[in-house]
């Protein structure tokens, strides 16, 4: 079986669903003959043609509005925002309509759509190409927000997102699009959209993260292991609805929690996780919760971006801070 990258897993999932369900339509800028600027839809136009893989006029509002309108009429559009930083004009249609229509009409009209976008920094890209806006979407009622961190989870979670009867935002960590390959059977097996994945067992500290920073979190766990510190790493994967129980179970065991995300700190998803720890896990905690995040500044241009992003070193330091409490 072929080994594939995260972005190839996205393509594989799209192709599987397009074949399986005639109502699935892919639309976006440059997704057609060109196969997407990151190649997420490479080869799909040749396989499925212009009735399934639609290039759109160059307007993000149009992409979002068309996708929402198609979904209201029973199609399953998978729309692409070419970059995370271009997603803001789309929020009107997501916040005002996609997330509300089922509720607004008491179940009469629904919106089974997926909005995909390459997400996050670290690829030396121009401005507006490196954003992490997951908290903005997680704050909207009526929406699922998903960020995979491996080829197999990208495949299984994207299948689940497309099959979900309600709208899903699917952020793809572009920094690890091609970081490594793994075997991903094209078996159509979806993963659940409401669980966190424990990707490394440990007993001293829990690292909670998502997206590309799974990489640095695992590296930090290795470094700490060399010092005899046992680190559990959780890939949140589905940001909303948040599987707090899995995080809580881990913290019951470790008593320490470090949350790592590249988005700005204030009102980031880490704040929600920390708040739930304070509400439900206070007596399980041995140390204050630590957050390793981006700063509350715009993502800098790329000469400084690695200084903005959480690094392995910063994660190790935060974990050590929690270990000062015994």
């Amino acid at each position: 079986m072929a080994q594939i990258t995260l972005i190839e897993a996205v393509t594989q999932a799209l192709a599987y669903e397009i074949r399986r369900d005639p109502s699935v339509i892919v639309l976006g800028e440059d997704v057609g003959v060109n196969g997407g600027v990151f190649r997420a839809t490479a080869g799909l136009h040749a396989l499925f043609g212009s009735d399934r893989i639609l290039d759109t006029p160059l307007d993000e509002t149009t992409i979002a509005g068309l996708a929402v309108g198609m979904a209201f009429q029973g199609m399953r559009p998978v729309a692409e925002a070419q970059f995370d930083g271009f997603i803001y004009p789309m929020i009107d249609h997501i916040a005002c309509h996609a997330t509300r229509m089922r509720n607004r009409t008491r179940g009469r009209v629904t919106c089974p759509m997926v909005l995909r976008a390459p997400w996050g920094g670290g690829i030396r890209a121009p401005e507006h190409h490196s954003e992490a806006p997951e908290a903005m979407f997680a704050h909207l009622p009526g929406l699922r927000v998903v960020i995979p961190s491996s080829p197999s989870r990208a495949y299984g979670l994207l299948l689940a997102a497309i099959r979900d009867p309600d709208p899903v935002i699917f952020f793809e960590p572009k920094r690890i699009y091609r970081q490594y390959k793994e075997e991903v059977p094209d078996d159509g097996e979806a993963l659940p959209l409401d669980v966190c994945f424990v990707i490394r067992d440990g007993s001293d500290v829990t690292l909670v993260t998502w997206g590309a920073h799974v990489k640095e979190s695992l590296e930090a766990a290795d470094k700490l292991a060399a010092e005899g510190i046992s680190v559990e790493v959780i890939d949140v994967a589905t940001i909303k609805p948040l599987d707090f129980d899995t995080i809580h179970e881990s913290v019951k065991k470790t008593g320490r929690c470090v949350i790592v995300h590249e988005a700005a700190r204030t009102c980031g998803v880490g704040a929600e996780i920390a708040a739930q720890l304070a509400e439900k896990a206070m007596f399980d905690l041995l140390a204050p919760v630590e957050r390793v995040t981006g700063y509350d500044v715009p993502m800098p241009l790329f000469r400084l971006e690695m200084k903005y992003l959480p690094s392995t070193e910063k994660i190790v330091a935060a974990a050590r801070n929690t270990l000062r409490y015994r």
Binding site: I25, D51, L54, T56, P57, D59, T61, T62, A64, G65, L66, A67, V68, G69, M70, A71, F72, Q73, G74, M75, P77, P89, D92, H93, C96, H97, M101, R102, N103, R104, T105, R106, G107, R108, V109, T110, P141, G142, R144, P165, D166, D194, K240, P241, L242, D243, F244
Partner: protein, 360 residues
């Protein structure tokens, strides 16, 4: 320098059959308008709409309805759009097109429920694929274009119709819709009900364009302007645009020129920003009077029929109002139970909390 030569020329046509006095302005009346029964039916629907609208405003003034957006003055535009559509077509309204919706089977009680603060109003009777009222301006245009794209991809002979006002035609969503309609040759009709006022901002302040219809040129689709107070013109242009779109020959921008005789909503007071004289003169051009005069000239309507019909409308509206007033509010858990197909685990806790407060 060489003399520039035109690379493309455009013309915007205007359609009117009846003038403000109900006198035909042209001899070639469309086929449906030669049938007296059809014209009487249109008149009765417009008249019913006006009775309903007055009642809704009265309900708001007496505290029995929330903010309400009146359709006074728009009756020909709204009923005419409804008459030209088929049930399988999709209608994407803004928030005052009750005349279209009644034609399609939405009940007055549904409208009252919506403005009365109850989501069940948007779970209305009529075509289940029609969209509910859309408060954010012009976003429904792209939803209609998306519906039209779905029809085209599924090869269904259906048409999507959206309505915006003159103000709504300034929005990026409106331009996105007509641009996509041109790019994909969609069966999409973007109707602009130009009632001259976007709350307090007049039509002249929205755009420098001579007509709003001409915006269709930018999208590469047909465009036409009609007298939106003349229902014969409205039905004629809508029927033609819809037939062309249904046949796979592309969409159209239809500008219906009318006048908002009421305040923007019951929360507005138009006396703050527009002259009494302008409204008075607009009343001389309003849509019901001219059709009534025309019907009377053809011996299709009379004072007696008018009195009888108004009384019947009053009774029907009362029945609907009573049905609305007698409907009990939804249980508290309703705010959770329709958000997702299946309630996610994080909301179960909040739903239970809401129920605990309710049952204290």
């Amino acid at each position: 320098m060489n003399t520039p030569s035109p690379v493309a020329t455009f013309q915007i046509e205007y359609v009117q059959y009846l003038d403000a006095d109900g006198k035909p302005t042209r001899k070639d009346l469309p086929e449906f308008a030669q049938d007296g029964a059809q014209l009487v039916d249109l008149y009765q629907r417009m008249s019913f709409l006006r009775v309903f609208d007055a009642k809704a405003v009265a309900l708001q003034r007496t505290g029995k309805l929330g903010t309400y957006a009146s359709c006074l003055g728009h009756e020909a535009a709204h009923v005419g759009i409804g008459a030209a559509m088929r049930p399988e077509d999709v209608f994407c309204p803004m928030y005052r097109e009750y005349g279209v919706q009644f034609y399609r089977g939405v009940k007055p009680r549904d409208v009252l429920m919506y403005w009365g603060g109850d989501e069940r109003g948007s779970d209305f009777d009529g075509p289940q694929h029609d969209l509910p009222w859309c408060v954010p301006i012009a976003t429904q245009c792209l939803h209609a274009a998306g519906a039209a794209l779905a029809f085209k991809l599924r090869k269904e002979p259906r048409v999507a119709v959206s309505v915006v006002g003159d103000g709504g035609s300034s929005k990026t969503d409106f331009y996105g819709a007509i641009n996509s309609a041109g790019a994909y040759a969609l069966p999409y009709i973007g109707v602009i009900v130009n009632n001259q006022w976007a709350i307090s901002v007049p039509r002249s302040a929205q755009t420098g364009a001579l007509t709003l219809a001409q915006k269709g040129i930018a999208g590469g689709i047909d465009c036409i302007q009609a007298d939106g107070n003349d229902i014969i013109a409205v039905v004629a242009v809508m029927q033609a645009a819809i037939a062309k779109a249904r046949a796979g020959n592309g969409g159209c921008v239809v500008e219906l020129v009318t006048y908002r005789l009421a305040d923007h909503t019951t929360a507005d007071d138009a006396r703050r920003y527009r002259e009494e004289d302008e409204v008075k003169s607009a009343w001389l051009r309003e849509p019901l009077l001219r059709l009534r005069r025309y019907l009377e000239s053809r011996q299709l309507w009379s004072e007696q029929l008018e009195t009888d019909w108004k009384a019947q409308c009053g009774l029907e509206v009362d029945t609907e109002v009573n049905a609305y007033l007698e409907t009990k509010p939804q249980p508290v858990e309703a705010m959770f139970d329709y958000l997702f197909a299946e309630l996610p685990h994080d909301l179960r806790e909040q739903r239970a909390q809401a129920l605990r407060w309710e049952n204290r």
